[in-house]
């Protein structure tokens, strides 16, 4: 049975004349990892701030575990964990005290949170530094501490706004591994700019831009949607590349040809025309023909364009 954990209906948020969220619709299933992607200023943080009751929507509705975010703010906050885009650690409290304060704000009993905090510090590799102040931590350690804080009260829904920004590959992998281990027991809603992160972690992905949802599905579904065209890279030995590039460009089933040095990239209407290409290249000094896998990045760029956002 699939139960909906987060339901968003026609959610809209305007800052004056700017519409940061434009009738946004989305459903996230319980126990899954959901990734929200989008260029800078797309409205990802705005959406998370509304869902975590930090901000009120201009119109539309949203429900967390069936509860209306506008009416049941307190109940919702007691079952969500939030890692915001900026680290909001208290630099006057030690790492451990940061977690303890959070536990107390959630009304947890001391004997309960003591053990839980021990576990989390161990898990995040911070046990040895628990008596230090967070401003003596590296960026990655601070981020891990924020994630630990969001988990102290064992939330049912976890919101992560760019959880691994600024982390080195090792720390990023450690966070991924941990997030993956949580899936199933809680619903995870994350935003990221790292497409690899989304591919590694998420069951489903949404891509948004200018406050609107522009694509939704599993990674494979999104890649498949990137038109039926397939791209091959052909590497030649010797000087023939330019000649064969011109020859390939004249073939009807070839949509596009680009040549850089010995390498020619051809875009075909469909993979069935590969045999025609091979026939045409009969006797050519071909060293290698390889299929270019579509990446999530291709999907992302094709949907949101090349232009850098101001």
């Amino acid at each position: 049975m699939h139960t909906v954990s987060i339901a968003i209906r026609a959610l809209t948020k305007s800052y004056g004349a700017l519409t940061a969220l434009d009738s946004f619709d989305l459903e996230v299933e319980q126990g899954t990892i959901f990734g929200l992607l989008g260029p800078n200023g797309a409205g990802k943080t705005t959406l998370i701030r509304i869902l975590t009751t930090l901000m009120r929507q201009s119109s539309g509705d949203a429900f967390i575990e069936g509860l209306d975010i506008q009416r049941y703010g307190c109940e919702i906050r007691s079952m969500i964990g939030v890692v915001s885009q900026e680290n909001s650690l208290d630099r006057y409290l030690t790492a451990r005290e940061n977690l303890e304060l959070h536990a107390r704000l959630h009304g947890m009993e001391k004997q309960l949170y003591k053990r839980r905090i021990d576990e989390l510090l161990e898990l995040m590799g911070l046990a040895g530094r628990q008596k230090d102040f967070p401003d003596t931590f590296s960026g990655g350690m601070q981020r891990r501490l924020v994630i630990a804080r969001a988990l102290v009260h064992q939330p049912r829904v976890l919101f992560l706004d760019e959880p691994t920004t600024g982390l080195d590959p090792q720390s990023r992998r450690a966070v991924w591994e941990y997030v993956r281990s949580l899936a199933g027991s809680m619903t995870i809603f994350l935003t990221t700019h790292y497409l690899e992160e989304a591919e590694q972690l998420c069951d489903r992905i949404a891509i948004m831009d200018h406050g609107r949802l522009i694509a939704l599905g599993s990674i494979q579904e999104l890649k498949d949607r990137l038109s039926g065209a397939t791209v091959y890279e052909i590497e030649f030995t010797g000087q023939g590349a330019a000649h064969y590039a011109a020859l390939l460009a004249s073939m009807p089933c070839v949509l596009d040809v680009t040549q850089v040095g010995h390498k020619v990239t051809v875009t075909l209407e469909c993979w069935e025309c590969l045999s025609e290409i091979v026939t045409a290249l009969n006797g050519a000094p071909v060293r290698r023909i390889s299929l270019q896998e579509r990446t999530l990045e291709d999907v992302f760029i094709s949907l949101t364009g090349q232009k850098v956002r101001e």
Binding site: S78, D90, L101, H102, L105, G107
Partner: protein
């Protein structure tokens, strides 16, 4: 219901405990310098004010000033810092704690800073100067000092909520808070004001506070009207602080 407020207030007191010595040294230095410069240095030029030596005349006001400005400063800077720099207010707001609890905790912290620092300055002045007052006057004095610290803490909370830039906070302190304190008869008797102006000066809750507090401490007078004025102002400021903070957070 106030469990969350308690947790935040305890956090503030824990942080204060850690830095109490340096905080107190800083807070005692200023009034003590003023006391030495004016009370001792200028005493022989000034003579008696309202029948008392000048050093005695200004001592209660210096204690009151320390308390209320400590309450104001703690509240305004702490709220600004937690809201704009550290984003800790936001981390409180994603827990089941209500916005009112957060602001109540912060008001109470500022109030405690005022009370603690006022008491310490009082003790220092008591220990190293000839300023003396009968112990039973302390009760009347506290009837002014407690709502006075609360009033300034609430004013600080309002300031820290509405002002986003640190330089604005500095400017407001220079043009509003310090003049209000100095105008309220801290260094001179109110009778020095021309009578046309005096009506307005007396209408200020700060004047009621400083004048009432001095009379309470030195003479043991409990002037009901000024006391009521300070209490009412602090109640209004409390309601305003809670309302403004909640409004700002719902934006």
């Amino acid at each position: 219901m106030l469990r969350g407020a308690m947790a935040i207030w305890q956090r503030d007191m824990q942080v204060l405990r850690r830095s109490i010595i340096s905080e107190l040294v800083a807070v005692v230095a200023y009034p003590l310098t003023i006391y030495l410069a004016f009370g001792i240095g200028m005493q022989s030029y000034i003579g008696l004010v309202d029948g008392a030596p000048y050093a005695l005349f200004i001592a209660p006001g210096l204690i009151t000033m320390t308390a209320v400005s400590a309450a104001y400063n703690e509240s305004v800077w702490s709220l600004w810092f937690h809201r704009r720099v550290q984003f800790t207010i936001e981390s409180y707001r994603v827990t089941p704690v209500s916005v009112s609890e957060i602001v109540i905790a912060k008001i109470f912290t500022g109030f405690m800073h005022g009370l603690i620092k006022g008491c310490v300055v009082g003790m220092v002045i008591f220990a190293i100067t000839p300023f003396r007052f009968p112990m039973e006057h302390l009760f009347q004095y506290l009837l002014f000092l407690i709502p006075g610290s609360a009033l300034f803490s609430c004013a600080g909370i309002i300031g820290g909520t509405v002002m986003d830039k640190p330089e604005t906070i500095g400017k407001v302190e220079a043009v509003l808070v310090m003049p209000l304190i100095f105008m309220s008869g801290l260094f001179f008797p109110l009778s020095s004001y021309p009578s046309s102006l005096l009506v307005w000066v007396r209408a200020l809750p700060t004047t009621a506070l400083f004048e009432g507090a001095r009379r309470a401490l030195v003479a043991g007078d409990l002037m009901p009207l000024p006391a009521l004025q300070v209490v009412l102002s602090s109640v209004v400021a409390f309601a305003a602080a809670v309302f403004i903070f909640r409004y700002k957070m719902s934006e």
